[in-house]
Symmetry: C2
Subunit: 351 residues, 2 copies
């Protein structure tokens, strides 16, 4: 029995779209609850698609509901395990009616990650670096886990001064983590940490202006990147990320600020994402907090500021939205080669 | 001095887009802080646009920064008051690193609103009704306030079984609230409450399949709606909402579920929103919790469910995302007349 066979069976007589990821979502929900309403809620699959998936799981002997509970059979549990599916985690903040997110099981790696990050390379302007707080990286990883994009998945990180690869791998849940990074200091740092901690991270030194290496293209379940914010630079990152994904149901994460991007630019970016075959599944503004970088008085907008006070390292003012996209069709990406400066446009403020 | 004059001055020599709403956002930030980094953070205006706005405010005598603090002059404060701008509220949940939202000043109306809502008309299937919890309506209103879409603004609510108009008006911050509602019971209920509480709510009985009344079109700062979820019905609601907005900088809110909408449908909806001239400014999944409706065992998906247990009234399983859009261009809407059933498509589960 394969996911593909189950989805084909679920599609028989169905009048609504059903993809393999819907079967994964249903199984993750069934690993977390046996109650029909909780399973509907947790799965985030349209009800008229979910009922088809549940029937297909029953017909194939993976699920039973004779006692009024939805119970995975021993075969069903083995199947979910073989597919490396974990129970759906909600990670809803209990203090704000579930509108915020919590770290959940990621709490366990907080100390370890902070110890490792204490020795990270400092941000430099050459690559438009500027990293998020450690707390932010951990929340990001928890968010990915809660959305089913981490556990048992293959993750690619495009540029990793935030050390997402390390936090993700420390949870011991992803199947594989690959980093494409241009900065030799970060390549060395992440490789050293991975070797020392026994983490399944592969670091490839790569200039993202070049198309993806052939063995990377179309191979991943999830990408993460925090792009430079010129329109051209952002689209370049998004192109590489989406091109690395397997296809429908695969997901990507990107950061986007107000500081360096008008809503005009946001709209252009969103149009690109839709045209590439993706849907905007979530967009949480100000999810990411950034540590102030040492070159702040050399950034492009500095001479234009009315007041010239250097903020404290942890005096957060630069934030970005977390955008989660999911491939619905294709993806349709024509990978191009980029030349020259990808950082500058008129709205750029920090490079 | 007008907003228009300030924005024209700010645009002189600017190489980035600047709209009137950016001036409003800057002033709201300046009402909340005198520190440059907090003002950048709170304003959510691109830095290279913000510096132009700050200069224009200084040149026109509304702002001063000689002491290293950004201080609105008495003229500046009077101007902000005349424009009915309030200080930017963040309303970040302190327990989840600010990733969730709090009620903030909306706390003060919780009891009153719950008392009023206790006597609301029950949800009926005729109009695909099903209302959110009172807590959800209050969080929604707080969210709108924090995004600058409530205080001093003119708000239109398209279909209001959630009683958003009442919660919004109880905050005593919007300039005007208009409700378009088809259900006579809700029209009467909201009118009665408004009269009794002295709230600035105008209720117009209207079938949204018809284009907006002429005196409504292009007149509002903010719309709210929780559309029916057939693609056709959703687009109809979004068309009416966007057509009611003044233009660039005006904002709209819509709810969208997974239960009745696949990511294919989400993507179609997002394409419509972008084409209409809007940007997706925020998309917070599962922000809205729904109270179970009395016709649950008559809903379309009921016979297809594997288990037929009626959930408790407050056993939440149906949720929707909160989508905030903001007009960037236009808006470009061709308002059409709709005929017949707007509720049904293959993914519909509740009607």
């Amino acid at each position: 029995m394969t996911l593909k066979e189950i989805v084909e069976r679920a599609r028989q007589g169905a009048k609504v779209p059903i993809v393999e990821r819907d079967v994964e979502r249903a199984l993750s929900a069934l690993l977390a609850s046996e109650d029909i309403w909780r399973v509907i809620d947790l799965s985030q699959v349209p009800v008229m698609a979910l009922v088809q998936v549940l029937s297909a799981l029953k017909d194939t002997g993976l699920l039973d509901w004779d006692g009024g509970r939805l119970v995975l059979t021993p075969d069903g549990k083995r199947f979910a395990e073989a597919e490396e599916l974990g129970p759906r985690l909600e990670l809803k903040c209990p203090h704000c009616g579930g509108r915020g997110t919590t770290l959940g099981p990621v709490e366990e790696i907080v100390e370890k990650f902070k110890d490792i990050a204490a020795n990270r390379p400092e941000a430099i302007q050459d690559y438009d670096q500027g990293y998020v707080t450690e707390e932010t990286t951990l929340h990001r990883v928890a968010f990915m886990w809660s959305r089913g994009d981490l556990y048992g998945k293959e993750l690619i990180v495009l540029g990793d001064d935030d050390l997402v690869s390390i936090a993700a791998a420390l949870t011991r849940t992803p199947k594989k983590v690959v980093v494409l990074e241009i900065d030799q200091r970060l390549v060395d740092f992440i490789r050293d940490v991975a070797a020392k901690e026994g983490l399944p991270i592969e670091v490839v030194q790569h200039d993202l202006r070049e198309p993806l290496p052939a063995n990377i293209r179309g191979k991943f379940d999830t990408f993460f990147c925090d792009p430079t914010e010129s329109l051209r630079g952002f689209v370049m990152f998004a192109e590489r990320g989406i091109a690395a994904l397997r296809g429908p149901g695969a997901a990507g994460y990107l950061g986007l600020t107000h500081c360096e991007a008008s809503y005009d630019k946001w709209r252009e970016i969103q149009r690109f994402l839709l045209d590439a075959g993706a849907v905007i599944a979530e967009l949480r503004d100000a999810f990411h907090d950034y540590v102030n970088w040492p070159y702040i008085d050399h950034m492009r907008s500095w001479p234009h500021l009315p007041v010239h006070r250097i903020p404290g390292r942890d005096e957060i003012w630069y934030r970005s939205a977390l955008i989660r996209v999911e491939v619905v069709k294709g993806p349709a990406i024509e990978e191009r080669r980029y030349e020259g400066d990808i950082f500058a446009d008129e709205e750029a403020a920090t490079t």
